[in-house]
Symmetry: C2
Subunit: 210 residues, 2 copies
DNA sequence: ACAAAGAATGAATAGTGATTCACTGCTTAT
DNA sequence: ATAAGCAGTGAATCACTATTCATTCTTTGT
């Protein structure tokens, strides 16, 4: 034996992989999945195209990983909002706001995650991603029902409606053909779009006019 | 001059076009847009592939037309439900039910219209289609506000939420990988899935627990 | 210094199906 | 019957990139 995988090599490979991931992320954040070419990604990452395939089975797999990564950040933020103090209803409201506001702040990526037409393997990740949100919401709704601040209902079904209502409301504003620079700087709770969405959602959950 | 387009010819061409449209519709209803091959469509319609291109600019254009057609039927049904008797709230409920039940009855086509990844021109039609629903709902919500059976709100925003909530709720059940033969025969108002969706939506609109 | 084993390379290939277009065959008006 | 002109044909072409793989370069242990 002469060559043995050593720590140094492992690390170097990991770095290359990370560069590939980062550059893909960047490409997607700029122009979506559809326009992200393997060749360009390789170029940005400073590796040959073939090298991509030493780290990922296929372009689709690479994209699926990027999708998972981008998604995780978002889901974590929502989970965080749901883990804060306050009644379940208050926490749900915080979470919905988090979801919507973050999307509006990074519109291209948000659009890619929510609405861009993607290949089957990536679409699968999208279903998982939406389900992840739904699961978080479902749990919070259950807590709300136990606490008594949310009336009894089919928590799973309601959580799905929440995800749908937000996603649909965002598709228009996020659509790459229409995105302006306008909303980017919003920091406070006063975006009327976000507020209307939340009002509808919270009413749907609680059946209490607000 | 020797050849002149005559009524007979015009009609024959129209028939060929109709056959192409019908066969495309059938293909899509069976396996979605993605799997509908131009060659197969031509075969079914009894014309050469080239003939397709005498009637449509491109496959995408053909698909866009099929999408519009399929969509029109659905939108019309919802419009019909909204035009019936009763309070605005009652009519909205009828319309939501119509939407959901029809989708569950023709799951493959409904999935293609709601969630299948499609090319840009078709995606544009989808946006228009969703907007068409939203417009109908919006009008009804406005009427409800005037009638006093629906509290004052941003009708446009609420209508978008309605469309999103239904669509998202249907994506799972319609997904081709999961569709069973189960629900197909449901004729009455008792599908619990449909009822939960409607409950959430109507609560979201009216803020009244049901 | 050397050989063994990977890792990296990137030009060439391949797979896929939409689209074209030179040709054939009808239809029509005279 | 004839000629002009449009409709129909479908095998061949094209476009587009993801993917491959023979080759070159690095690393490692002796």
């Amino acid at each position: 034996m002469a060559y043995r995988e050593t720590e140094k090599m492992r690390q170097r490979k990991a770095e290359a992989r990370k560069r590939i991931v980062d550059c893909t992320y960047q490409c997607v954040a700029e122009g979506g999945f559809r326009s992200a070419r393997v060749t360009r990604i390789a170029g940005l990452a400073g590796v040959a195209t073939g090298t991509i395939y030493r780290h990922f089975e296929s372009r689709e797999d690479l994209f699926a990983e990027i999708f998972r990564l981008a998604t995780q950040r978002e889901v974590d933020k929502v989970a965080e909002a749901l883990a804060s103090d306050g009644s379940a209803a208050e926490r749900l409201e915080q979470a919905l706001r988090q979801f919507a506001e973050r999307a509006l702040k990074g519109p291209q990526m948000a659009w890619s995650l929510i609405a861009e037409p993607v290949d089957p393997k990536v679409e699968e990740e999208r279903l998982a991603y939406r389900k992840a949100y739904a699961n978080l919401f479902e749990k919070a709704i259950r807590e709300g029902i136990d606490e008594g601040c949310v009336p009894d209902q089919d928590a799973r079904q309601s959580s799905t409606c929440l995800v749908g209502a937000i996603a649909e409301s965002l598709v228009g504003p996020l659509s790459p053909t229409q995105t302006s620079e306008a909303d980017s700087a919003t920091e406070d709770n006063n975006d009327p779009l976000v507020n209307s969405i939340i009002r509808f959602c919270m009413q749907g959950l609680t059946g209490t006019r607000r």
